[in-house]
Structure formats: structure tokens, C-alpha cells
Symmetry: C2
Subunit: 376 residues, 2 copies
Amino acid sequence: MGSRDRAGSAPMNGGSPATVDKGVDFAQYFCTYAYLYHQKEMLCDKVRMDAYFNAIFKNKHHFLGKTVLDVGTGSGILAIWSAQAGARKVYAVEATKMSEHACALVKANNLQDVVEVIESSIEDITLPEKVDVIISEWMGYFLLRESMLDSVICARDRWLKPTGVMYPSHAIMWVAPIRSQLGEQKLNDYEASMEDWHCFLEDTETNYGVDMSVLTKPFSEEQGRYYLQTTLWNSLHPHQVIGNPSIVKEIDCLTATMKDISEVKSHISSSINICSQLCGFGGWFDVHFRGRMEDPAQEEVELTTAPSVEGNTHWGQQVFLLHPPVTISDGDNLSVSILMTRSKENHRLLEVDLGCKIFQASGRQLHTLEKKFYID
Amino acid sequence: MGSRDRAGSAPMNGGSPATVDKGVDFAQYFCTYAYLYHQKEMLCDKVRMDAYFNAIFKNKHHFLGKTVLDVGTGSGILAIWSAQAGARKVYAVEATKMSEHACALVKANNLQDVVEVIESSIEDITLPEKVDVIISEWMGYFLLRESMLDSVICARDRWLKPTGVMYPSHAIMWVAPIRSQLGEQKLNDYEASMEDWHCFLEDTETNYGVDMSVLTKPFSEEQGRYYLQTTLWNSLHPHQVIGNPSIVKEIDCLTATMKDISEVKSHISSSINICSQLCGFGGWFDVHFRGRMEDPAQEEVELTTAPSVEGNTHWGQQVFLLHPPVTISDGDNLSVSILMTRSKENHRLLEVDLGCKIFQASGRQLHTLEKKFYID
């Protein structure tokens, strides 16, 4: 699940998944999903819808006569498809009042004998049985924003049969060097903001007799974080990708542990394929529906959020901008280190420590940079 | 305190002030005030700043050698002015980490011997003494959004001396009939949204075999509430006011009780002064700095947020739009009933039941309407 109007925006409350206050988590995160408008945005993402639709209906053998758990059912769409594909029983769990609409939708499509909608967080449910399939659309921006995979893993560990399959079965995170005009825009915005600040300082001293210059440093840091260090949602065109994309994380949804997904730590290389400016990096993900080794998909389906000429998904890509950009040449090589961790203030948000060394084709090091980013 | 990027946006948690969860209140409301950018927006409101500056410095007798409590000090500006006006001691209370910046600002202006910054909600503090003055900039959109006056009253009841004064001393809420193009825009947006919904229904049935028509009614209600029933921030020009403004509430900050301010219930009349369309109503407020009867201001100051040719304050006005607008004539009379109460989901947000009867100058009733609004 990803959306431009994304949940989890006010990063002022901390705690790990185990300790976070439920009321606060609801106020900061879950509440957006209670709106039909938000659900519709996701239901209108054709790439997303086609992938799940095909994954289910081209692999009916996983559903026919089986039991299914839909984690975070939202409008109920995946639960409904699972039932239509022949499931014996579908438990559709939804933490928000959207569950009431899911219930109505199930009835309106004559599936109330198969689909049971449960209003609850997944961590709190009790089911009468373990299930054959856990299906969920849990992906946030750059895969892991929102940290919903935590809940899917929790559900898997409690409710998936030893022979069960995960839908999706695998997830991969990609990073590539990009060019983009956004960096210059954001730098201009930041500089305009600081210029305005200095006028404000002058006015406040002159008109109101208060010297606010001691706040310049924290204001600059706050604005810098906002304009220059916060990743952006963007819809990249493939020609903005200026070097080969690299995998920074691979997740097997059947076996991944909470520890495995608590951070992303990777070292990648990328060869530049064009003389241009390195404006930053783009991050995206794929998920795959492969079933499991002992019970594979008959037809594997992939949902990719890579930059696409046909138009991107509602997830777009996450863009990590460098200020200023760095001039690079065809044949240059990048050596990039990425460490992505949970934000201490809000476990559903992420922080990224990115390091990049740029080498000429000859091996001579041209440039080195380090930057911290926030995925808010 | 009002700002376009206003706190208290996600109305999904209920409770009265006494019962609301502090963590949730912080996540939904207080957090915005921890940003310097937000404080700066308020500090750049010249009308606001001039009013408080003049109220204090033209009435130094209220401050010289006195004790002051600044409720919700933010950046500390009012506390600093109070000290510069000669206060013996100022307690500057701020619930967010903005208190750290207030502290730095106090030191940078050499007032640390007078101003003590306390990081706390006002309800939780203990002071060594009662104070001569309570000063606060607590006003939200249409005065009462954010319900911060609750906290000021709590502070007053606990910490103001029997002889103490309130800054501001009085507040008045106004409503006037208006014309505006916004109503038509919002109606178009709503209709476009519903048209898009019907295409979506068709696509979802055709491509994905799910009948979502049962969600049309709740979607329409959700969109209707969003586009047609949610009040808007707007910067009105005086010529948009098409009938005499009327007072709907008067508050004496020295004596008002929590019960007094828990709702606004009023019946007003307004004469239309132009042939036009009644597009809705505008709401705004004034506050006054009059001191108290036994210890009045030497120079009374008023802060008004009425529509102004010089440009409005950051509070703008709150606009209650009617769809469709009603054609009215010069000389027509409006009889308007208003009942404004706290939202059950979030006590810092408001709901308004508005009723309006339109009469010709002859007394013949032309029109009657009733509408519920949400101040989110």
C-alpha cells in the first residue's frame, strides 16, 4: 500500500512496534486508510490491481477449497478475489472502520458465506484455524515505509500453516543513480527560505526589539532537513536512470524475520551510462508471486514499481537528491553504501545513511560524499 | 494561534479535554507547534504582532514589577516582551520542544533572570506563586478551533491572582453573509469526483468482476463532507460581505467558564445590502486588551481578523459555503441560527449546525435552509 496522501506523517512519537502506543499509531498512521477516497486511489492503480488479480486467478490451485487470511483488507478486494477464486474461507482483517465497507462489499457480491470481515489489528486477532494462504498488499513507499511487513510477519508466524504460501512471496528493493531537476528546485526553495529568514530577523529586531539570530542555526537545520534531506515521491521516466539499477535488499516473505527487515544494509556498484549530472538516487521495489518451492505458482506474476514509460504506479519512486549535483561521465563507476533504519521518533518512518564514491573508468577516485536522508 | 498549516487534522480520536489521551493529543495537535517554520509564520503576521506588542508596551503599568504567566509561549515572544516591559518574573510555559528554542531566545536577549521557560502542558505545571497577568495567544480559526482557551481558563483558575488581568481580556465572534466563487468551485470538484467514481465503478466491474456500487452512498457522503460541508480558510475582501456582520459570541476571558465556551449558540439577523447571491457565511473574531474594570488598560488595543483591504491576518476567515447559492436582493433579511459544538471524534475540532431563513423586505419568507458544517 502506498499513496501520495500517505499515512504516518507526524514523526513525533517514538517506540518500537512492541511498545508504540496504539492510540497514537492510529492517529498517525491507520486513520488515512479509513477514507474511501484513499482506498479508491489504490483501487485505481491498474498495475497494482492487475498484478494481484492475475496472481490470484492464474494460480487458482492455491485458493480452491483453501483458507485465506487477508492482512489489512481495506475495501476487501483481495479477500473478494480469493473467494471468487474458490477459497473455502477467507478471514479479512482490517484495523479501521473501513472494515464496515468491506463487509458491505462482501455482501453485495454474495460472498458472505466465505468471507468473514474482522475489525481488528492483526496482532490482536484469534482465528479458529491456521490458513493455507496469507495475502496482503502491505508495501509502502520504497517498500518498507509504513513498516506494515512487521504485521504480515506476525500474522504469518501465528496463522500460516507449515505448508502455507505467501502472496506476495518475495520482495526486492532497487536503487539507481538518476538525473532530475527536482534537486535544483529544492535547493532554490531552501535558499529562498533562508533569505526570507534573514529579512524576518531584521524586521523582528527593528520593529519588535527582539534578536532572533540565535534561532538561525536550528531554523536552517529544520529547513535543510525539509527541503534537502527529505526524500520525495516522484514519478521517474526511465531515461532519468543514468546507471544500472542494483538490488539493495531481497526478502523471502515466507522466512524473513523481524530482525531481517529491521534494517537495509547494502553496498552496491553502478556504472554510469551517460555524460550527465548525478542528481541523486531513485529507489523502488518489485514483489513477486511465486508460491513456495513445495507448492509453486503455476504462473509467476511480478508487480514492479520501476520507472516505466507506460506510467508509474501510485507508489512512484522515492528520490534521494544531492545538493549540488555531481558532474559525471559515461563509464564512471559509483560505489554506494546504504544503511536504512527505522526512525526513533516513529517506527513507521525511515532514515537512510547514504555514502557514495565516484571513480573514473581508470579507477581514479573523483569524488566522495555522505548524506543522511529521511523518508517521512 | 492560527495557521494555514494547522494542527489537529486527523479527526479519529475522541474524548473531552479531561479524558483525551495525551500521546494522541500530541500526535494530532501539539506537534505542529514544535516546528520553527510554523512559529515563524505566526511571528510574520504583522497585525497579530503589532496588536500584542502595543497591548503590552502601551500598558506597561500592568507589567512593571509584576508576575506574568505566558500560556503556550511557543518561541517565547510574549514572555520576552512582558519582561522587556518591566515584569519582575515571567513563567513561559510550552508543551513542545519549542520550549528549548524559547529558552535560547530568552538567553540571547539577556532576559534569563526574569523569564523562566517551562516545558510542560499548562495543566501539569506547579508554580511557586500566583501571577498578576496571564498572557496568551490562544486563538484558532474562527476563534475556538483548537480549543486552546480551555487551557487558558484552566491556567487562570489555578494561577491568576484575584486582582489579576487577562491578555487578551475579551473575545468576540462575528458572522456575516458573503458572496464567493469558492462554492461553485467546490461543487464542481464534488461533481467531478462523483463522475470519476461512476467510471471507476464501471471499470472495476468490467475488469475485475467486483460490484462496488454499494459503496456509492458512503463515498458520496465522504466526498460531500469533504467538498461541501467542510469550512474553508479564506482571505475575504470586504466587498464580499453582503450584509451586516453580527456577533454570535462574546467572551469575557476573566470570567468565562468551561461550560460557557463549550458551545456557541446564537440567533442573528442580517440585512442584505446588495443584489447578489448568498454564497454562504464568513466567520471571524476580534480580541481586545482592555484590562479589567478595577485595573483597566491605559490604552485599549484591539486585534481584529475581520475582512480587510490591507490584507488579512494568518487566521483569514472561516467560510461556510452553500450549494447552490441563493439569489437575494438588497433589503432582504436573513434570520440565522448557529449551534457550534465540539466534534465527538476530536475535541479540538468543531461542528456547526446552521439554519437560515430568508425574508423579503415585506416580511414574506422566500427560502429556508439547514446545513451541517465541519471545522476540521
